[in-house]
Symmetry: C2
Subunit: 271 residues, 2 copies
């Protein structure tokens, strides 16, 4: 296996832009499809062990945020990276266009409600970052309002971090060509027709403006306590491997432990 | 494989009691441990396919309620039966002793908040049935109040059923001896110490009263639209197999389909 480049290569610093990272970049050189699948299975099983420890420890929390253009593979990432974990401690929250009730609150309200609790790992399938994408691209909010939202987002994530949440944010980075192939596939494959939404074409027509909006948010909200990683995502297996590796490495670094036993347990007899 | 007895054998009718079903009953005769594990893997993978269809269809909902005495295997059931499904469409809600805020509402409030949405399969790890167990055993509510709660529960489940939710309720039925072995195991195995709670001994001391409270609730709330199944649970693999088979059969019976394609899809070209 080719030595894995440092995750720092994918971590967004102040002056990075999406154009610095090629969407079709291959990070893992494992041989072929078969070897890639086998390695992902190893990582998925390891993630299950790590997540069990997180759950048993019952103290800390992990939040994985997934963002990306339509068809970038948010669902697929969840399906594969979490193919071996248990729903006991892994939760997914999907954010769609806000409901009337959600709109009646500030934009972080619905997100705060589904943050991970102690011992939990939560995945956000889209997130509060949608509120600095569509409204920016469509011109519903000014640049000053967008900057204000970035600040609220950073403060919110600092709160989560300070209270025991490890935050990892991944932007699934695909090329416009790859999106065309995937949308076409949804049209061609009857078992994928249900995934096709005409609205996706509206966002596709504004591809460059979305990329700019992503650049702005990535730069403004990649912090020490909640870093952004841009994941080359044209190749699905490479994408899964990189996110699984990033997540597992992060969890291993947390040095999770079974809670210490109560020394009085020795004196208990079950009647 | 021995022909599987009808699930009706485990379904609670008006005059059943827990004593009618032996906790150590073997339902599946597959050979040994290896064959049982292999068959469970087949069922877990099939459940993933069925759940994907439920998610794609995006119309109906499935709720699996798990109840049982401490150590009866609610967590283990979730871990094994859902070992191959994706957190994309499978959610687990665990109910603990109600918080002050939860107590400020009616006892169904916190449950209603986490019912499955369209296309989702939700598992309740404990449930609203806790509110007709501890309070009954401890004498916090009268028999008339318990009967009133049964009625509210039936009405609530009828609402869910009428609005597209298939409800399956499983009581994991273990013997008092088996509970002793499992509690002892939590004391003896350092990796299980964290699961031991002294409060479990308090409920164990009232074993018979709890069994009576279960008999009462099973009889009062096993309805056509939300049936109770009593699952022999002294043997973990047999328990998992029976619940997986029950769930898969139920989902197969729903005749889930990919949504029909929009006929206009043919006319779309991706720019």
């Amino acid at each position: 296996m080719k030595k894995l480049p440092s995750f720092d290569a994918f971590r967004i610093g102040p002056k990075h832009t999406l154009s610095d990272i090629a969407p079709d970049q291959k990070t893992f050189d494992l041989g072929g499809k078969k070897e890639e699948r086998a390695h992902l299975e190893v990582l998925a099983l390891e993630l299950n062990d790590l997540q069990n420890l997180l759950y048993a420890e019952g103290q800390r929390k992990v939040l994985l945020v997934l963002q990306g253009m339509d068809t970038s593979g948010k669902d697929g990432t969840i399906r594969w990276v979490f193919s071996r974990t248990s729903p006991l401690g892994v939760h997914v929250a999907a954010f769609k266009a806000p409901s009337a009730k959600e709109k009646a609150h500030d934009f972080l309200w619905r997100c705060h409600a589904v943050t991970p609790g102690a011992g939990e790992l939560t995945v956000w399938n889209r997130s509060h970052y949608e509120d600095v994408l569509v409204p920016v691209v469509e011109g519903w909010i000014t640049k000053a309002e967008a900057r204000s939202r970035f600040e609220h987002i950073n403060n919110f994530e600092k709160l989560l971090s300070d209270t025991g949440t490890t935050i990892i944010k991944c932007m699934l980075h695909i090329s416009k060509d790859e999106q065309r192939r995937r949308l076409q596939d949804r049209l061609d494959d009857p078992s994928k027709n249900w995934k096709f939404a005409k609205e996706d074409l509206t966002a596709r027509a504004k591809w460059d403006v979305y990329q700019e909006a992503y650049d702005a948010l990535l730069n403004a909200t990649s912090t020490r306590y909640a870093p952004w990683y841009v994941i080359p995502a044209d190749n699905k297996r490479q994408r899964n491997l990189l996110i699984a590796q990033l997540l597992n490495t992060t969890l291993r670094t947390m040095d999770l432990q079974f809670p210490p036993a109560d020394p009085l347990l020795d004196q208990i007899t079950i009647p």
